[in-house]
Amino acid sequence: MDEDVVHLNVWPGEWDLPSADPNCLATLAYCRFSGVPVKIHKDVNPWRSPSGNFPWMKHKDISQTKVTDIFSYLRKQKWGSDFNLSVKQSADAVAFVALIEERLLPGFLHLWWMERDTYTNITRPFYNKATPLPFKFWIPKRYYTRAEQTIYIGQGSQNISQADIDTKVYRDAKDCLTYLSHKLGDQNYFFGDMPSSLDAIVFGYIAPLLNAPLNSNQLTNHIRTFCDNLNTHCCNIKREFFPLSLEEQKAKEKKKVEETEDTEYPNKKRNMILAGVFALTAMITFAFVHGIISIEVIEEEDPS
């Protein structure tokens, strides 16, 4: 039945992930966990989404654009992976989501938007590429401002310097990762053998940190050295719920081959031709100037 399909508009994928945005990624993961019949659109026209944000879920006549709202809506429709949690576990899930929002989010945003390298090489090009034409002039900027506000206004007051906030958000984020790692322990998922909404949200944040071509940074390093179980958790979810389809795999391999060929000398042919033309011109000019070649203009005698 077409009516029963949930339409989901998300930011497109990157780095082998189905989406590059943590919220979209969390929603997609949740839908996969619970087998929601979902149709994914990678159309991110902010005028069509009611709040201008993504993910944007549309089911029958109802639209939702916030992760927690989408989860609770899906839960009400009896689609969900949280039904086998005990009451106490559900309470824990609520608390840990709050922990992530308060502790991890500011540091995460700081890494993607405030670190100059990441911003110019990864974040900005991604949003420029993903946003359709007229919007790309202001949408990335808007996200930037929002991230800045969340970090600097949400965290501190006027008595605290920016540098102190920078250290604080990273320290908080690393603490949060450690807490999550302790909570996960050596289980497969946070609450036993079945994935839950908390797993989806954690995956949304951790997967981009581990998969994007980021420079050496505090958060990724912290996960790799101190929270190895989070790393495994993320890889498991990716392997089990988001395996690359055959076409994607082929495309990836093709891209890889092209890249290895190209990366060493990206414009090999063009450069060779240019160099050849340049050398030839230089030699001919030299020959002319020194009189090795000379052109004599012989006026053809009129046959008549």
């Binding site: 559900s90 824990d92 102190d164 250290t167 603490d175 807490y179 302790h182 909570k183």
Partner: protein, 262 residues
């Protein structure tokens, strides 16, 4: 601020006595001035210090907010150091060798931090929302109290400046877009989670109090006992019997022998 301060405190550790006699906790005037979100924060810290069995005196200052190194109350003066807000105070007290959660496992510690974040993320924002953006509460309670210690015309101007600051902060956390009903729903979810976690235990993590207990008491007790024109939050909390009993128990245990000097 806090980070640099904490380093300094760590260096100082061991050099001086563990807990000097003249520790002071600063806050605004309790009866006339303090607004209830600030009061909840102060009560949390005080309860925490009582639970640790530490002595301190409360100093009432009109400009406590401006005196605080982070711009928020409460803050404590410990020897030459000023430490403000709950988390840094807990960390600072820990460096002096007092800790409530030393017996907890790593998982329980993580869970405790998660519930503390839940309160910070939900209840604190909801309190600010109610105090500064609910028209009745702002006009009848928050505005007169916040301006009460200042002469005309400051008593009219300062509350609006503070309101603007709070709005900016809540907007950055996307709380200003919420309607009052949505905020109530957030509070309900938060209380539900707390109530389920507490269940029938004495404290959140077994037989001994932790800083989470101090924080929960500080916020819930304030919301339950403050007389506001809008009692919506108190009504929500009263739906959960175990939380109400929990507040009464802590009140009995820590404040009765202080003659209810909160």
């Amino acid at each position: 601020m806090t980070s640099m301060l904490m380093e300094a405190v760590k260096i100082e550790l061991g050099a001086t006595e563990r807990w000097p006699d003249n520790v002071k906790l600063y806050q605004q005037y309790q009866v006339e001035q303090i607004t209830f979100p600030d009061y909840a924060a102060c009560l949390s810290v005080k309860t925490f210090l009582h639970m640790c069995g530490l002595q301190f005196t409360t100093e009432l200052k009109v400009n406590a907010e401006e005196m605080s190194p982070s711009g928020r109350v409460p803050f404590i003066q410990l020897g030459p150091f000023l430490v403000s807000e709950m988390e840094p105070i807990i960390a600072c007290v820990k460096t002096r060798g007092f800790q409530l959660c030393s017996e907890l496992t790593d998982i329980h510690k993580s869970e405790m931090k998660a519930y503390m974040a839940l309160i910070g993320n939900t209840l604190v924002n909801a309190e600010h929302y109610l105090a500064w953006f609910n028209k009745d509460v702002f006009d009848e309670v928050t505005k007169p109290r916040y301006g009460s210690m200042y002469p005309w015309p400051l008593d009219g101007i300062l509350p609006y400046m503070k309101q603007r600051e709070v709005r900016k902060r809540l907007a950055s956390l996307e709380w200003t877009e919420k309607s009052f009903e949505e905020v109530c729903e957030e509070v309900l979810t938060c209380c539900q989670a707390l109530s389920e976690r507490l269940d029938k235990q004495d404290y959140f993590f077994g037989k001994k109090p932790t800083e989470l207990d101090a924080m929960v008491f500080g916020h819930l007790f304030t919301l339950l006992t403050t007389d506001l024109p809008n009692r919506e939050f108190a009504l929500i909390i009263q739906k959960f019997d175990n939380l109400v009993n929990f507040c009464q128990r802590i009140d009995q245990k820590y404040y009765k022998n202080l003659n209810n000097d909160y």
